[in-house]
Symmetry: C2
DNA sequence: TATTTGCACTTGCAAAATGCAAGCAAAAAT
DNA sequence: ATTTTTGCTTGCATTTTGCAAGTGCAAATA
């Protein structure tokens, strides 16, 4: 859990120290696009993260201030995770990953159609999503 | 070395299966921005990758067709690694990582100045670098 | 009120990935 | 002919990950 060790001062390296693993961006994706907000919902995602890894990643993302744990309005037993502005600002990067994947990987037709929409008005899409997310912070 | 196992059909997940680790993007960075092309040059980078990990990553990136091993013009003992178009197409994402890092992380003044330049004309910068890299493929 | 269920984790242990130091073969330099 | 450079590989300790089971608190149910 030594997320604090910076390997260099390079901005890419520092960024990877924060979210450069197989799971962190998927949790952010779940919050950003799929409206997931709880531990149990993250667990159900298709990739199948294990419980201890999810707990560790949530803690690390919280320490990096990419998300915050808040009280859930429905129940004290639940925890509501929210993206911070710092996390929402990752959207442009995530959009570029989509565009790259659409060009170079095998993508399902539905996903491809969606990404085509993004391509038509990238800035508009980013603004729309970021506005929506900002309202929830 | 099981890079072939896809966790889901999600484009982000598939992308992370390819370059979602602490080292792959740093090797691509070295090729993209620092003109490094050989094993020995990658080894010298500030982050200090170990020899076996570097060898494994180079192989995995080659398998993912993000780079190709070619003969070095200077010597048969050397291997010249080149970015593919698939890797060059990661530049917009890498630029967005820089912009995010400039906003949210502690960046050295020199790096910050450079990123400011990118911000003035993001498309122009990307086109410039991509053209330069494409000439070398 | 007692009991069961749901939720967010924690724990123990095996397996895999990483990191470090040393070694190694082919090519190049001396 | 010998040494150095280059791009790795190997062995082993450490760290991280993955899986299964368990825990404690809150909420729902009987």
């Amino acid at each position: 859990m030594e997320k604090t060790v910076k390997r260099s001062k390079c901005p890419i390296s520092c960024s990877l120290d924060i979210f450069g693993d197989k799971w962190s961006l998927l949790i952010i994706r779940d919050l950003m696009f799929f409206g997931k907000t709880t531990y149990g919902e993250f667990l159900k995602s298709a990739e199948g993260i294990s419980t201890n890894i999810l707990a560790a990643r949530l803690q690390s993302l919280e320490e990096s201030q990419l998300l915050i744990r808040t009280e859930h309005p429905d129940s004290k037993a639940k925890v509501l995770y929210k993206l911070t502005e710092k996390a929402v600002d990752l959207l442009p990067m995530i959009v570029e990953i989509h565009l790259w994947a659409e060009k170079h990987l095998t993508i399902t037709p539905e996903t491809r159609a969606l990404i085509q929409e993004v391509k038509k008005d990238k800035e508009g899409f980013i603004t729309k999503i970021m506005t929506k997310l900002s309202e929830r912070i």
